[in-house]
Amino acid sequence: MSISIAQRERAYRAYNEFFDLAERKRRWHPFNDVPWEKMDKDKNSEEVAICLETFCGVELYVPDYTANGFNLTRNIFGHAWFQANWGYEESKHGLVFREYLIQSGLRTLEQYYAFEDKIFGQVWNLPFHTRRQMTCYGALQESATYLIYQAQKEKARREGAELLEKIFFFISRDEAAHHGFYRKVLQLEMEDDREGTISDLSHVVANFQMPGVGLIPEYDERLKVAGVGISSDHFLQQGVFPLLKVLGTDRRELIASLQKSRIAAAAQRADGEPAEETAELAPARA
């Protein structure tokens, strides 16, 4: 998809805003700013281990996320440089989860490396194939991840687990910032092509799955542990609806767009043309 100089400039400014704020207010050091001395092993459990291991596993795909992201955005400064920063920040998340698992003794090195081997034995591929659709996906996925980490932070606070509370404070704040960037870009996309952007968003919402689906070992079993995932209700109410509101649209317009795409795809099939990718309905789980 070609992109005009004006669009590139607006993406650059959105990135600058993100980067400026990150440099001034959001940078944190995984060893110096995280109070590792407050590790309280008595507050750990296998449930905590499964949560952290699952989050770590998702973050360990950062090489695939960034490689794919760069391929999609490499000719647009604002988007490509965001990918670089995003990858750096997500890499810290994986590092901190790994450190916690090992330092706490929740996993031995051998167990951790066995898990890492399973993760690196699979490859994450783009769930959607245009930059705008991946921006929609990014906005939704970062929102879901923020909600999951925010819930973990609150849980840690309630249980007096200071170290975990601080870790999830830093990480959820990063995820909120990432969501903010994608949301800003989507607002710009709406200004350029409202109908097309809503069509892409409806397609992504209809096919949305978290990145760990199909990649993290025993993912469905892990989701049974409280806090690993997020319910579809919660995701709709706290993730999807607020995004629609910010973009100046609503669920009715989203659904109308999805139904229009289906009708167009059906007409194409009836004419014997290869139908464009149609929305398959994803499981009711974020």
Binding site: A206, V240, R251, R285
Partner: protein, 88 residues
């Protein structure tokens, strides 16, 4: 609306949103998840009901739609709200 009318309307809405479920008998206790109805299909069901009833349900009322009974309650709630108050 009586219970039978509500049940019929919900059956239509579910079949509209998810053709796999055309003709499937639905009970109030059936969960959305067990029926394999996706989040986006829930929004389509609600949109269908809104069009048929000529109303708009607030987004926050959709949070509890975990079962077919939840959909019935959504309609009943609207029905009650739209009826004029009875004098004692």
């Amino acid at each position: 609306m009586n219970d039978a009318e509500i049940k019929t309307l919900i059956g239509e809405a579910v079949a509209f949103a998810d053709p796999r479920l055309v003709g499937k008998p639905l009970s109030e206790n059936d969960t959305i998840a067990e029926l394999g109805i996706t989040s986006i299909a829930v929004l389509e069901i609600v949109g269908y009901l809104e069009d048929k009833l000529g109303v708009r349900f607030p987004d926050d009322e959709l949070a509890q739609l975990n079962t077919i009974g939840g959909l019935s309650n959504l309609i009943r709630g609207h029905d009650l709200a739209s009826q004029p108050a009875q004098k004692a």
